[in-house]
């Protein structure tokens, strides 16, 4: 265990303090909550992707033993549409009722809720609700949604187009293509994914009729955002009469950011029946109703000079938004995507054009990486396509185009200013770990024996530490993206930290206590981290976009600074010194350079609460609040490589090596960051090779169970070889960039590039659609052979 005698806790791989309770089954999740008088909700959902709702017959269901109440969309009077929290110019915002009223628009769209004394009774009675469905044609395919004759999903959105958005300089790109020696063009399908957090979504809503208070426990990555959206926009109940608690939450990957139908309906219904209501999603419901991710269809073109410099990038993307606008859906395929197309390269010009479309599918929103994986995949795929066209080595073409090392800002062609970067250094380190020359030799030898071995790279960048409020506000965000951190020092010198960040697997209780213990020179055990409760925490924007350490951590750091400043005044008073002469070293306030003239932290804390001998005019107490709003995004980057072998008989891809160098700036706990990287790589590999939500044309989700949707499993992955370079960000005082999404962003292109490289001897330079299932690879091999 770390103690105050450790010189510095930052940078140490301290074991996660939350893990003992999680791995011994003593976590406290929403579904664990037991309240007197609890009732249970089950939702009646549309079995059709697109259907008019006719008569709903509740007779049998109401007669089912144990049923307390049943509500349909028509009963939800005074309840508004679920809001969209990011508005683009001319965005079409269709109504999104918590229970569908006239029309159901995807399989799983809820139309009624059954509340009963037991979960069994609720599920059984829900089966007895009879709905007259008038089935309409559905449209599910991204590329077909806006085509003539496609079924119209919302009145407000003709041709199912939600928005058209663009960024960059179209004229400059046109000019670049005119002068380019070489141009390449590819069709790229970035398939739809299901987040699949281990804990399914759940909520408990309790209305206390005596006080008029509503408490909602919900699987949320951002309880304050949940409260704000629900109270201010949907239910119209005063915010101060609502408390939202997100207790232990078992993973989110973005899917638990959003305000969903179920918690909204339960929060409304508890006020009607005046009893608490619990709802827990089944895995099948999770597949059908948790917001999905990705789902882009893109045509990309790259223009280059003869010697391989990138002159222009032209991108046209159709992004599938699903049946309704989920909370932050419009931001993902626009500002979190188009702005990242500059990659780590100097580019002459960029233009990106995005059309967002509605389809009869589950709503799509942020999924780990959110927009940035789609951008990185495109850029990293295209640069390898270009290398083939130019007969250049894929490492060489990257080196040729890297933005040179910089410490204070690099202006991209797509609005962002990168913070600090040293892209070639990370790549060189990777090449060394890989022993690149040797691996190419081995590959050549293996090819002679007819083996298909491939090496693929990904030198990615991402924007995280989300985000400067002013900037995102100007881009359409309906919220600020600062974070709060309160540090409360108790009279005994023990410390409670209240953070607006929310841990749903990230390990904040360890990382933040490590940060505080380090900065104050106190034992980690003396620091408690409180998160996930609007009743305890000032305000919070929550956790996503790799923002907890960099934004949430900085807010805590700022409060610690204020604590130290106040402490200096108290200590100076006790020592009859001047506050300006004080410094804080090793857990004590001392006269600069005189460790013997000092007051320990604990004594200052006690004095602040028992202010008998105390500076004139200074407020008692030792508690500070800070809100940190970053001045810029942070831009982690890195270089990943993958080595694969393709079985030419079956198309099966075997991962031989996976090597990663990430630069996430300064690191608080290397083990936790490694864990983030490992999990992220698994998800990125999953997208490349196995995962994919597949809809039939009629809108049925055919990959709707764990038996069909292939998540990566431990035995499908190699041992990762990971390293880091450290380029601190100048954006925040901690120098932390953010580490939550790098693996997911980097891994997908590295793997796909490796598979394509394996097939190079057959003349293959691209595979359009992920995942690279064995059949898809086999067909590619077959077509390549036929084509020669």
């Amino acid at each position: 265990m770390a103690t105050a005698t450790d010189t510095r806790l930052l940078g140490k791989s301290i074991k996660r303090r939350e893990d003992p309770r999680f791995i011994t089954g003593r976590g406290s999740y929403t579904d664990d909550l037991k309240l007197p008088g609890m009732t249970y909700a089950a939702f009646v959902r549309s079995p059709h992707a697109h259907a008019k709702i006719g008569k709903i017959d509740l007779t049998q269901a109401k007669a089912h033993p144990g049923v307390v109440a049943i509500f349909t969309g028509k009963d939800l009077t005074g309840v508004n549409s679920l809001p969209c929290g990011w508005l683009l110019p001319e965005l079409k915002v269709p109504p999104h009722p918590p229970l569908a009223v006239d029309t159901a628009r995807y399989v799983g769209d809820p139309v009624a809720v059954v509340i009963a004394e037991t979960q069994d009774a609720a599920l059984d009675a829900a089966e007895k609700v009879k709905v007259d469905w008038n089935v309409r044609p559905a449209v599910t395919a991204t590329a077909k949604a806006a085509e003539k004759g496609a079924s119209q999903i919302h009145e407000v959105a003709p041709a199912n187009v939600a928005f058209k958005w663009q960024i960059g300089d179209a004229a400059a790109v046109d000019a670049a293509f005119k002068t380019a020696a070489v141009t390449v063009k590819k069709h790229i399908v970035n398939q739809r994914l299901v987040a699949n957090a281990m804990e399914p979504r759940a909520c408990v809503a309790r209305f206390d009729a005596a006080t008029g208070d509503l408490t909602l426990w919900v699987t949320s990555q951002n309880p304050h955002v949940h409260r704000l959206l629900m109270t201010a926009f949907v239910l119209g109940i005063p915010e101060h009469k609502v408390r939202v608690i997100a207790p232990d939450v078992g993973g989110g990957f973005g899917s638990k950011i959003f305000l969903y139908n179920e918690e909204t309906v339960c929060s409304w219904a508890t006020r009607q029946i005046k009893r608490p209501i619990r709802w827990t999603s089944t895995r099948r419901e999770a597949f059908q109703t948790d917001a999905h991710g990705r789902d882009h269809v893109t045509d990309a073109e790259l223009a280059l000079s003869r010697d391989g410099k990138i002159l222009g990038l032209r991108v046209k993307t159709i992004a599938n938004l699903g049946a309704y606008l989920s909370t932050f859906a419009p931001a993902v395929p626009t500002y979190l995507y188009g702005t990242l197309l500059n990659g780590v390269y100097e580019m002459g010009a960029i233009h990106c054009d995005v059309t967002g479309v509605f389809t009869n599918t589950t709503p799509v929103d942020a999924y780990r990486g959110a927009g940035r994986p789609e951008a990185a995949y495109l850029v990293e795929r295209m640069i390898e396509v270009a290398a083939v066209a130019l007969k250049m080595d894929v490492a060489e073409i990257r080196k040729k185009n890297f933005i040179p090392k910089f410490e204070h800002g690099y202006q991209t062609k797509v609005a962002l200013t990168y913070d600090s970067g040293n892209y070639a250094a990370a790549f060189d380190k990777l090449l060394g770990m890989l022993d690149y020359r040797k691996i190419r030799e081995e590959q050549a030898a293996a090819r002679k024996q007819g083996k298909l071995i491939g090496v693929g790279f990904s030198t990615y960048i991402e924007a995280c530490s989300i985000a400067p409020s002013k900037v995102v506000g100007s881009l359409g965000a309906q919220a600020g993206l600062y974070e709060s951190g309160i540090v409360r020092v108790h009279p005994t010198g023990k410390i409670t930290v209240f953070t607006g960040s929310h841990s749903h697997g990230q390990g904040h209780e360890t990382t933040f206590s490590q940060l505080v213990a380090d900065e104050l020179g106190v034992p980690m055990e003396d620091v408690e981290i409180v998160h996930g409760d609007t009743g305890a925490i000032a305000f919070g924007m929550g956790t996503y976009g790799s923002r907890s350490a960099s934004v949430g951590g900085t807010a805590i750091h700022m409060s610690i600074h204020k604590i130290k400043e106040k402490g200096k005044k108290i200590a100076a008073h006790l020592l009859e010194a001047s506050p300006g002469d004080m410094e804080y070293v090793n857990g004590q306030f001392q006269v600069k350079g005189f460790p013997g003239k000092a007051v320990p932290f604990g004594q200052v804390a006690l004095t602040a609460y028992v202010p008998h001998n105390y500076p004139e005019g200074l407020e008692p107490g030792l508690e500070e609040t800070s809100f940190y709003d970053p001045s810029n995004f942070c831009f982690p980057f890195g270089a990943h490589a993958c080595v694969v072998e393709v079985d030419r008989d079956t198309g099966h891809v075997k991962l031989l090596r996976y090597v990663a160098v990430d630069d996430v700036g300064n690191v608080i706990n290397p083990m936790i960051v490694d864990g983030m990287v490992h999990g992220g790589i698994a998800q990125g590999v999953g997208q490349a090779l196995w995962e994919g939500a597949v809809y039939e044309d009629d809108g049925q989700l055919v990959t709707g169970t764990m038996m069909d949707y292939a998540l990566p499993k431990a035995d499908m992955l190699p041992m990762y070889e990971t390293e880091r370079t450290v380029t601190p960000t100048p954006v925040n005082p901690l120098g932390i960039k953010g580490a939550g999404e790098t693996g997911t962003i980097a891994a997908t292109p590295a793997v796909v590039n490796a598979v394509v490289d394996a097939l190079r001897p057959l003349g293959v330079d691209h595979i359009e659609t992920m995942p690279l299932t064995p059949e898809r690879v086999w067909k590619t091999i077959k077509a390549a052979k036929a084509g020669r």
Binding site: L123, E127, M706, M707, E775
Partner: protein, 287 residues
């Protein structure tokens, strides 16, 4: 609970189980529950009664019996996988069991459950076909069904509605015999997208005197690859002969296209895995 309501029965003998099965309306036998319960949780199956065989005496265990190995229907995949008798007399059965799902599935699921259920993608069917197994069913009378009469369609077998599968009998491998089962696993479920079992007996000259080949996964139910067997029989099994025989692996399979593959691809996989399984079996026969 996710399934619809049902009543649970736990008889202690085969006779009692059969009595319940005859008497109760809409009753299902419960073995390891690893096929039935997932379907009940999705409410795709909603039996009114479950008759659990776990307390029924005499349905587990593996023993040699007149050149055959008798495996009780309620023997778990794990017991099959780790059986000393099978490992020495007919290891391919153990190896097949070891490829089913994951340890949790194998500790609960039973060989009888798998073969009574007849999932088109189950592994054991290919192996029992290649071996020429027999199924002992107990209803009012006891009868033995040959494996070639067992698999009838998607989750459809020769088992009567009022019968229990009580035992599976596989032959001990004769001298000069090699056997192997190879599968292409579904990336999510680990069931066989395609699985092929091959059993070959070679004489002193290395000629194939007997061949059994079973194919699972590709069609609506596992089948015997008669064309492959015929092409192997009487031949010296060199690479060309194996290749030529394996080319017939999809003949007679009603290949079903699904997310894991088109008809073309799955038929191709049948051939690839037939070749690999035969190669492995021949190698073992030589050893």
């Amino acid at each position: 609970m996710y399934p619809a309501a049902f009543e649970y029965h736990a008889p202690a003998s085969v006779a009692d189980a059969l009595k319940l099965l005859g008497k109760l309306d809409d009753a299902k036998i419960l073995a390891g529950g690893h096929s039935l319960i997932p379907m009940m949780k999705l409410r795709l199956a909603q039996p009114k009664h479950l008759i659990d065989l776990r307390k029924v005496a005499g349905l587990t265990g593996i023993k040699e019996d007149k050149g055959m190995i008798a495996i009780g229907a309620m023997t778990t995949h794990w017991e099959v996988e780790s059986s000393k008798v099978l490992k020495s007399k007919c290891p391919v059965v153990s190896e097949t069991a070891a490829m089913i799902g994951d340890p949790a599935v194998r500790n609960k699921g039973t060989i009888g459950g798998s073969l009574a259920h007849g999932d088109p993608a189950a592994d054991m069917p290919a192996t029992v076909i290649a071996l020429g197994a027999e199924f002992v069913c107990q209803g009012k009378k006891k009868r033995t069904v040959k494996v070639d009469d067992w698999f009838k369609g998607i989750m459809e077998t020769a088992l009567g509605e009022d019968e229990l599968l009580v035992e599976i009998r596989v032959p001990a491998l004769a001298k000069g015999t090699g056997a192997a089962y190879l599968k292409f696993p579904h990336p999510a479920s680990r069931f066989a997208v395609v699985g092929v079992a091959a059993v070959v007996t070679l004489d002193k000259e290395g000629k194939c005197t007997k061949a059994g080949v079973g194919v699972t996964g590709a069609g609506t139910h596992a089948v015997r690859a008669k064309g492959v067997e015929a092409a192997l029989s009487g031949k010296k099994l060199d690479a060309a002969a194996i290749e030529a025989a394996a080319a017939k692996a999809a003949d007679g399979v009603d290949v079903q296209a699904d997310l894991q593959g088109s008809e073309e691809y799955k038929a191709h996989l049948c051939r690839v895995f037939a070749k690999r399984a035969i190669e492995a079996a021949v190698k073992r026969a030589h050893a």
